[in-house]
């Protein structure tokens, strides 16, 4: 049977499509309104929850070591602000992707760009946080009494270990993100190519 033979059958059979009763008004007011919206809601919740968690953590920091306190305070603050920034960026990105009235090709291209940008940002964020964490450890052993065993190691040894740990983290994040998104992105690119 050819596709053209199906035309007549299609016309007749679409009349029999089972249409579950859909109350448009209630559909519009239902909270769970699609995966993109759900994801947006998650980012919105993140923007609210992270500052609260960071504020609680900051209020519970022990005050007895002056510098250590400031270092931890700064780290938590930067971490919290970066998280909020990251959520906000993704929230806005999804908002742009949500407008679906462009042509299919244009929409797919937009989605590829948004995903690639999101992946880059996620990598920069995670690696930036790792670097900040290393800096915080160094700060702690230089100016505080913590991690004295680690401080006993020569700086070059520590530096080498930091480099190795960061390289491993770099590779791991690269692989994790690639595993999670590369299939999705390449599938979208394939679809865009179909429309070229």
């Amino acid at each position: 049977m050819e596709l053209d033979d199906l035309k007549a059958g299609w016309k007749r059979s679409v009349g029999n499509i089972q249409k579950p009763s859909a109350d448009i008004k209630s559909l519009l007011t239902t909270k769970g309104n699609g995966l993109v919206s759900e994801l947006r809601d998650r980012f919105r919740r993140g923007m609210i929850i992270v500052p609260v968690v960071v504020a609680i953590a900051l209020s519970r920091l022990p005050h007895h070591h002056g510098f250590v306190f400031y270092l931890c305070f700064a780290f938590l603050l930067v971490f919290g602000l970066s998280m909020v920034g990251y959520f906000y960026f993704n929230y806005r990105l999804l908002g742009r992707v949500q407008a679906m009235d462009a042509s299919v090709k244009e929409n797919l291209q937009k989605e590829v760009r948004a995903l690639e940008k999101g992946v880059r940002l996620r990598l920069v964020f995670m690696r930036g946080m790792a670097l900040l964490f290393i800096l915080m450890i160094e700060g702690l052993i230089h100016f505080g009494e913590e991690l004295s065993e680690w401080n006993a190691e020569p700086f070059t040894v520590r530096l080498m270990l930091y480099v190795v740990a960061f390289a491993a983290f770099y590779l791991l994040t690269h692989l994790a993100v690639k595993h999670r998104y590369s299939r999705k992105i390449s599938h979208l690119k394939e679809l865009v190519n179909e429309l070229e």
């Binding site: 596709l3 309104n33 699609g34 994801l39 299919v104 929409n107 679809l191």
Partner: protein
């Protein structure tokens, strides 16, 4: 325009085009729950885009754009979407379709359509809906010439798929 009027106008628009929306849902999702979710997603997207609709294109073109875009991007996010094909739950009800002898052949063809990728499905659906190549071009963003070439390829692919199944 007051919000109530917009909402009534929108409701009317969705009711008038409900069948079109369900057709898109049936092409892209193969179980009742996925279809219902997709329908809701599409209605939400139409509602969001409705204030920006300036009437520069036909209303059906606009609805197809939103519906196909939503189907491709929203349902793709579900991991099981691509694998949710169930031969017993074909895109359209073929029980009453044409003569009983054709039922099996129709079923095979619908099964083959279900195996096409998202773009090919959109092209097939628009073709079966007798949309002009110009309108398809506007919906998909693909040139008229490329669309014709693509259509021939899809027909061959479907022929191959129905022969092997």
């Amino acid at each position: 325009m007051p919000k109530d009027d917009i909402s009534k106008k929108f409701e009317q628009l969705v009711k008038e085009n409900e069948l079109l929306l369900w057709k898109v849902c049936n092409i892209y999702a193969y179980n009742p729950s996925d279809r219902k979710d997709l329908f809701q997603d599409i209605v939400m997207q139409l509602w969001k885009a409705f204030p920006n609709f300036r009437g520069e294109s036909k209303i059906s073109t606009w609805i197809y754009r939103v519906a196909i875009n939503t189907s491709i991007s929203a349902l793709r996010k579900k991991n099981d979407f691509i694998h949710s094909y169930d031969p017993k739950s074909l895109p359209v009800d073929v029980a009453d379709a044409v003569e009983r002898g054709m039922e099996e052949q129709l079923q095979q063809l619908y099964g083959a359509i279900a195996r096409l990728n998202e773009i090919e499905k959109a092209i097939v659906m628009l073709y079966l809906e007798d949309r002009s190549y110009e309108e398809m071009e506007e919906i998909l963003g693909i040139s008229n010439g490329a669309l014709r070439v693509k259509m021939n390829r899809i027909k061959n692919k479907l022929r191959g798929l129905t022969q092997t199944s």
